[in-house]
């Protein structure tokens, strides 16, 4: 449905995206996972005809995105990273406006958005700027869907949204996918990656790995441990200078640790307890984020 072919985009001397290729199958929920500045927005803006690639080709539903930009504009639903509706218009006014822009009406496509829009309909006379983050997002999604797009492109839709609304949002995406929609979504939240069919881990404009979330996680070969304790930063510095430690990364209130070999664990545990008698070390299963951190030095090196 969507095909990126050796796409490169430079901003002056800075390379935004470097030789990116991937395909998204029809009806797939595809995730671009990476930190801020990795190039996710640039990729989406090229797909939505807002930016031209410097090199490579890009197609949607078999049509060239650069040549047939009019076709793309009529058939893509796009939700930019920042809330991009009119804050001084009401919920209903925004929805009607975008429906008319795409030559359709709210009534004609109500069935598609009903599931989402019903939740904000009680507030339809309220101005969009006065909505909560979760409601804004539902409105933006309704507006992006109102013309029945072939492909839905969502740039960090859950950034700045509370945990409950995030969960709801992903449930909505799953339902839309079940309806046959192809969805591309980007996120900096690693935990959301497992909700996608396939993910591309992206860093500094390159794809580091592209696979199903399960495959990405099972590719993490070394045993992983979590160390919990006080004053994380000092503890981190201590762990990094131990010879048996390959990597130590802070994860919230704990540190994720990989070692040279599994048999080094008792020595390391002993050193930790000597330094911090209160620290707890336990074996854990890796997450996408661990995989991401693990891949990162490779691109640096």
């Amino acid at each position: 449905m969507v095909e990126f072919n050796h796409i490169t985009k430079k901003y002056g001397p800075v390379t935004g995206v470097q030789g990116v290729s991937f395909k998204v199958n029809p009806g797939e929920l595809f995730g671009l996972i990476g930190p801020d500045g990795a190039g996710k927005t640039t990729l989406f803006r090229m797909l939505t005809t807002l930016l031209l690639p410097d090199e490579g080709s890009l197609s949607m539903a078999g049509k060239d995105v650069v040549q047939d930009y009019r076709f793309v504009r009529s058939n893509v639903g796009y939700m930019p990273g920042t809330f991009s509706l009119y804050q001084d218009l009401t919920v209903a006014e925004n929805l009607n406006f975008f429906a008319t822009l795409f030559g359709t009406t709210v009534a004609a496509n109500y069935a598609l958005i009903e599931d989402i829009y019903r939740q904000i309909e009680p507030y339809k006379t309220r101005r969009a700027g006065d909505l909560s983050g979760g409601m804004k997002q539902k409105l933006a999604l309704s507006c992006a869907l109102i013309h029945r797009p072939l492909v839905l492109v969502l740039d960090e839709p859950t950034t700045g949204v509370d945990a409950v609304s995030r969960k709801e949002f992903w449930e909505m995406l799953k339902r839309l996918q079940a309806g046959g929609l192809t969805i591309l979504v980007s996120t900096a939240y690693m935990d959301e990656a497992t909700l996608c069919d396939r993910v591309a881990l992206i860093q500094e404009g390159r794809i580091m790995q592209l696979d199903t979330p399960e495959q990405v996680i099972s590719g993490f070969s070394r045993p992983l441990y979590a160390v919990k304790g006080e004053r994380i930063h000092r503890l981190l510095e201590f762990l990094r200078q131990l010879p048996q430690v390959v990597s130590a990364q802070p994860f919230g209130d704990s540190i994720h640790l990989t070692l040279v070999a599994e048999h080094c664990l008792p020595e390391v545990q002993a050193s930790i307890l000597q330094e911090r008698p209160d620290a707890v070390t336990e074996a854990i299963t890796p997450t996408i984020e661990d995989c991401f951190m693990d891949l990162m030095p490779a691109t640096h090196g």
């Binding site: 930016l51 920042t82 009119y86 975008f98 008319t100 822009l101």
Partner: protein, 366 residues
């Protein structure tokens, strides 16, 4: 067409839901008209005068009475010496002083009388103006009292054509219309367009089948209409409150108004194609456009007395030509047979900025 209609409707909602825009749109013109009409004026009224009458005879008293009988001057007090007078200037008690030397009545009959006028020239324009007014009254007095003009003197008879009472408001109304249209059309449209860029809504508009031309027309039409209403409002105030004359053709004035508004709008669109933030658009509109419009258009300072680089610069101000047109139509009652050159210049501005805007308007983000 339906897209355009819904776009225009949306634009009007933005305008009417934003108090600041409304204030600029309708508060500013009214405030400016009254400010320029009443407060900021270079007409002389109640200028304070101190008299040092060393003669104290019938003739000197008559002269003083004559001067004070006008609206122009108001007695601030009397002086007994030059020290009084210079103190008066310093303390701001008076703006000018009249010194009548002794034996005025006798010398007057012998045609030898002299009086002295002292002025505070720290404001040279005002000093000049006051000196002219006072000299005029004194000359008038001489002619009346002697009942004939001195034979060796050429009598000048001045007639102020088109504005016999020298009302400043006749100049300010066209000036204010010009400045307001410049603000509303250029500033507000450039801000309205860059706001879409800044808030990210331009991204969504571009990723829609809507053609860029429709976006621009949809943005501009409401401001064209509101600017036109504004001009009518200012003209209405000029006619009713300040008794502006309307010597020429109203349809021609309306046509020229619309042309000038389109010129200002095209400049506003051009600015917005070059800038990404409302702040920058506002700075450019205000400082690169508003100030030169006010200063170099002949609205406040006469262009003829400017040094040549500024005179040359004034030629790239559409406002200069528009002010000439409005004054020509309203005060002189002339038509296109005289104003065709200025009208062509405004058309040229429209052409240049529309072409430049179209060339610069991108259908993408970068």
């Amino acid at each position: 067409m339906k897209e355009l209609a819904v776009f225009i409707k949306k634009e009007f909602r933005h305008i009417f839901r934003d108090g600041r825009t409304l204030l600029i749109l309708f508060g500013l013109p009214v405030a400016q008209v009254f400010l320029f009409g009443y407060a900021i004026t270079n007409e002389v009224k109640d200028a304070t005068i101190t008299v040092w009458d060393q003669s104290h005879d019938v003739m000197s008293r008559k002269l003083v009475t004559k001067i004070l009988a006008t609206d122009y001057f108001k007695l601030a007090g009397v002086a007994e010496n030059y020290a009084d007078i210079s103190n008066g200037f310093r303390s701001g008690r008076h703006m000018l002083a009249l010194v009548i030397p002794p034996d005025f009545a006798r010398k007057f009959q012998q045609h030898e009388a002299q009086v002295q006028l002292l002025l505070d020239a720290s404001d040279p324009n005002m000093a000049n103006l006051l000196a002219n007014y006072a000299s005029g009254i004194i000359a008038n007095f001489t002619r009346q009292e002697l009942r004939y003009a001195p034979s060796n003197q050429i009598v000048t008879e001045v007639r102020m054509t088109y504005n016999p009472e020298l009302k400043g408001v006749f100049l300010f109304v066209p000036g204010v219309i010009t400045v307001i249209l410049m603000i509303v059309s250029t500033l507000l449209t450039s801000i309205a367009l860059t706001r879409e860029k800044e808030l990210g809504t331009m991204e969504i508009l571009l990723v829609s089948p809507l053609r860029p031309g429709i976006i621009v027309i949809g943005k501009v039409l409401p401001y064209l209409l509101l600017s036109f209403l504004n001009a009518i409002l200012i003209l209405g105030l000029g006619f009713t409150v300040f008794q502006m004359p309307m010597a020429g053709s109203m349809p021609l004035l309306v046509l020229e108004l619309i042309l000038f508004i389109i010129a200002a709008l095209s400049i506003g669109i051009f600015i917005s194609t070059k800038t990404a933030s409302q702040q920058v658009a506002m700075m450019i509109s205000l400082f690169a456009l508003m100030l030169p419009t006010i200063l170099l258009s002949g609205f406040i300072f006469p262009i003829d007395s400017m040094p040549w680089p500024l005179q040359w610069l004034s030629n790239i101000m559409p406002a200069k030509f528009f002010i000439i047109i409005v004054k020509g139509i309203m005060l002189q009652g002339v038509g296109l047979e005289v104003l065709w050159r200025e009208t062509l210049v405004i058309l040229a501005f429209i052409l240049v900025f529309t072409v430049a805007s179209i060339k610069n308007f991108t259908i993408r983000l970068a």
